[in-house]
Symmetry: C2
DNA sequence: CCTACCGATCGGTAGG
DNA sequence: CCTACCGATCGGTAGG
């Protein structure tokens, strides 16, 4: 009889991913050693290698899980039958909410993806494109002049991602402006800005 | 012959900084070895250590020189007697222009600064604050409702930096939207967005 | 033959 | 200004 998979296998995997993401973000991918990660997880290095065949696989799973959580967070939180403007606002709020407690993963996604082999990079970039498309479509619906073929849709969409994806460098939890406040601010800036561009 | 040694010294230093910045950005700070950098510069490792006592000093100089060039580029390019709105637009265009051919330094500034000792970090952060203040003041002048004490000035200013500092991840030279076009787009979005926020 | 896990240590390479 | 070489530590793997 084959030895069954440990009951807490998935739990342990998740815990390893979270700990290693924090160590990678804090010390950088190279300086965070597999020994440190094992120690931080309270497991032996050999057990760490049982869960992840190598360091790159750890990196891949961190980014993949993070992107999946962003996409899920955004897709589940919104009601696509809402008016386009409210829909975009909900997308932005959901994305900012999905970023809560995910600064480490966010930094790793932005900075370390290129270490991975091309096919793994492509798998992750496809998820990024999926997320971008959701937002671009919502913008195009809210500001129809930007839709279908306008050269402005891409730079406008990227401007929104710039605002939202840059927040981790200045936003502080518990400050005078909440996460939800900033969702309103960024959406208002983007929508009114985009309208005056299109007009 | 006027001080040929000094001139040669500065040239070599600049070349070393540029080469090492590119290697750091491409492979990461840890994986880009001092031997690689020496080889890329066409000098011996020992000569490299003659110019820079250690790897961290190289990192510090890359970021310091980069920030000085951004500040200088922005301060020299604008005419502060212009109307506030045109002034902000010129600031944004000058900053985007200063970022040309500086993607490597930009990435290093954002991602590797925390490796440095606290006093060196502080020296660099003071330069960052100086740059942010220039833009925040221009925004406050162009949209007076945001000035003096408004909780919105900081998130609005950070939204502009988000748009501009994020551009290196999607902007491609020679594409349909030029660097100058994007300066117009980002400024228009920010100004009209900020006005509707304040109103 | 599978998976779960340990103590010990490998060959190579880094900054200096 | 170079080559040779160091102390340390890395990612990854051995037997059981």
């Amino acid at each position: 009889m084959a030895r069954p998979r440990a009951e807490d296998y998935d739990e342990k995997r998740k815990a390893i991913l979270k700990t290693s993401a924090e160590l990678f973000a804090e010390h950088g991918f190279d300086r965070a050693s597999m020994s440190q990660i094992a120690q931080g997880c309270g497991v032996s290095k050999a057990l760490l290698y049982h869960y992840y065949t190598n360091k790159d696989q750890l990196l891949f799973d961190i980014i993949r899980d993070h992107l999946d959580e962003l996409i899920q967070g955004v897709e589940l939180a919104v009601d696509t039958s809402k008016p386009a403007e409210a829909l975009l606002r909900d997308y932005v709020a959901a994305l900012l909410e999905a970023y809560r407690d995910a600064n480490a993963e966010h930094k790793i996604q932005i900075n370390e993806m290129k270490r991975l082999p091309p096919d793994q990079q492509e798998e992750l970039k496809a998820r990024e494109r999926h997320l971008v498309r959701l937002f671009a479509d919502a913008i195009a619906k809210a500001v129809p002049e930007l839709g279908s073929g306008s050269l402005l849709l891409k730079p406008v969409t990227m401007s929104l991602f710039g605002m939202v994806n840059w927040h981790y460098l200045w936003f502080r939890e518990g400050g005078p402006v909440s996460r939800d406040d900033y969702a309103d601010i960024a959406t208002t800036i983007l929508l009114n800005g985009a309208r005056s561009l299109a007009g």
